[in-house]
């Protein structure tokens, strides 16, 4: 409902201005104005997900009937402050580099003894379908809001993740020969009217992009995590669906956080 309202409002805003061809500066300005209008954290429904995630974190579940509070997200068991800002990272107990979503699934399985089949089935929320993962990520990421993205690249496996992510970013394929860099390989580009961040190297674009996930997407009426963003990117690239919580997505996330280092997290954000 909200998204329709915003579209109508935006259409109204546009209708009130003389719109000329080549009036690109004007359209960019209006797009910015629209973004400013929806960027009010006080009216960001993503915080409802944060609240639900807080309850889920403390809820006893699984065969062991314990909460997730014993889960170590990298800063120590149960310590949430700043954990998201340092993910993905290497975890000794799993001997793997994991992003937040992979790690949460691991903790559900290993600490709670929870069968994650249902959780994975509800990985993305939809009409009448809540997502534990989206809620937990919103809650945990919010505990790093205001902090700088701090990529962990000390361990060889962390270095490999970021390096593979960079390769995947530039790897073309599918019926349209697209890669991530097709859209995000140059500065100042647009697809239709949507501005495209430059993500082929470090800079403000990478920082602002990575500092804004998870986000509440007005157009989807849902809190979305970066797993969903990459899934959606590959959909539009005409690639097969990437498996949820797979290493390719973590690799891309590692690479992008590497070039986004220092960006200030403001999460959950709100987007179109």
């Amino acid at each position: 409902m909200r998204s329709i309202g915003l579209s109508v409002l935006f259409a109204f805003v546009l209708c009130t201005m003389a719109f000329r061809v080549h009036a690109e500066d004007a359209s960019e300005r209006e797009i910015e104005r629209y973004r400013a209008m929806i960027s009010d954290p006080m009216s960001n429904p993503g915080f409802l997900a944060v609240d639900r995630g807080e309850q889920l974190w403390a809820e006893k579940r699984g065969t062991k009937n314990v909460s997730l509070e014993g889960c170590d997200l990298g800063r120590g068991a149960g310590k949430l402050e700043g954990a998201f800002a340092q993910l993905p990272r290497y975890f000794k107990d799993a001997d793997r580099v994991m992003d937040l979503e992979q790690r949460l699934l691991w903790c559900m399985q290993n600490i709670q003894g929870l069968d994650t089949k249902d959780v994975v089935a509800r990985r993305f929320s939809g009409p009448g379908r809540v997502s534990d993962m989206e809620d937990l990520v919103a809650f945990i990421a919010n505990k790093s809001s205001g902090m700088a993205i701090e990529p962990q690249l000390g361990h060889p496996k962390e270095q490999e993740m970021a390096a593979v992510g960079e390769e995947l970013f530039h790897r073309r394929g599918g019926v349209m020969d697209f890669s991530c860099s097709t859209c995000h390989g140059a500065e100042g580009k647009r697809i239709r009217l949507q501005g495209l961040p430059y993500l082929a190297g470090p800079g403000k674009d990478a920082q602002l992009t990575m500092a804004s996930w998870p986000t509440y997407r007005v157009s989807q009426s849902a809190l979305r995590t970066f797993q969903h963003r990459i899934w959606d990117c590959y959909r539009q690239q005409r690639w097969p669906a990437p498996d949820y919580g797979s290493d390719g997505i973590t690799a891309l996330t590692s690479y992008l956080n590497k070039i986004a280092s220092g960006g200030e997290l403001i999460v959950p954000s709100i987007k179109r």
Binding site: G188, K204, D205, Q236
Partner: protein, 252 residues
């Protein structure tokens, strides 16, 4: 008003609605300028961002003499293993789609900035994959072409099997001056035919480019619409007419 509704729609639902965006490219892929908004101290025009560097904020340089030999920090086998782990559960037919052919292997290896000899090899290989219409007619119906240029459906794992593919030209190109919702990944195609005096040579060149962009611009960002079987011959003819018919809004 339609225009404005579309605009709102494009902004409100670009990534999840029927107007799903995708990209084609410049006729001549430009070298991106060095990244603005540097994070910390940085030497502008240093090395490609792809090279190992401990300096945050190193920027992608314009093509330095050495930049066409990218340094890969991981082996192809390692990357392939990640691809398998990530997409391995997809149907076999879908997995085949992302197996790079020789041309994509070269473009991936050099991140589209291929040396001259490799570029030549790509063009020679790909021109053989261009099929011209048997009837010799390269122009169809511009009105149908306008719809194809605006349609971004098809080829996505979310699309139904019977989806009619669109060319989605507007995602990347400006075309008819009346359409304000256009992307800038590719060059503007406004007045395309008119600016080229509607010559047969230009028509043939454009048909080739749409059918198989790699035959004209090696490692172009643009899809190989004909060779990869994404658009039918008739659809390509219609898009061609949209570009070359004097009555098409593109040429008004």
């Amino acid at each position: 008003m339609t225009k404005f509704s579309m605009l709102a729609l494009a902004l409100g639902a670009l990534t999840c609605g029927p107007i799903t965006a995708h990209a084609a490219d410049q006729a001549i892929p430009p070298k991106p300028a060095a990244a603005t908004g540097k994070t910390t101290e940085t030497k502008a025009t240093e090395t490609k961002a792809s090279e190992t560097t401990t300096k945050p904020g190193a920027t992608k340089a314009d093509a330095a003499p050495t930049s066409s030999a990218p340094i890969h920090k991981v082996s192809t086998e390692t990357v392939d293993a990640y691809v398998k782990a990530t997409f391995g559960k997809a149907p076999e037919e879908w997995q085949q789609r992302i197996v790079p052919d020789d041309t994509m292997k070269a473009c991936n290896k050099f991140r589209n900035e291929v040396p001259t000899d490799v570029a030549e090899a790509i063009m020679q290989r790909e021109i053989k994959k261009v099929a011209f219409p048997a009837d010799g007619k390269l122009l169809g119906d511009w009105k149908a072409g306008a719809k194809i240029a605006n349609n971004g459906r098809g080829g996505q794992f979310s699309d139904k099997a019977d989806t009619v593919n669109g060319g989605n030209c507007y995602a990347c190109h400006q075309m008819a001056p009346s359409e304000v919702s256009f992307g800038t990944l590719g060059p503007s195609l406004t007045h395309y035919g008119r600016d080229r005096n509607y010559t047969d040579a230009e028509i043939k060149q454009a048909y080739t480019k749409i059918y198989n962009s790699q035959a004209v611009v090696p490692c172009s960002n643009m899809p190989r619409f004909g060779t990869n079987g994404f658009l039918t011959e008739q659809q390509i003819k219609d898009v061609m007419a949209f570009l070359f018919d004097p009555e098409s809004p593109v040429n008004k």
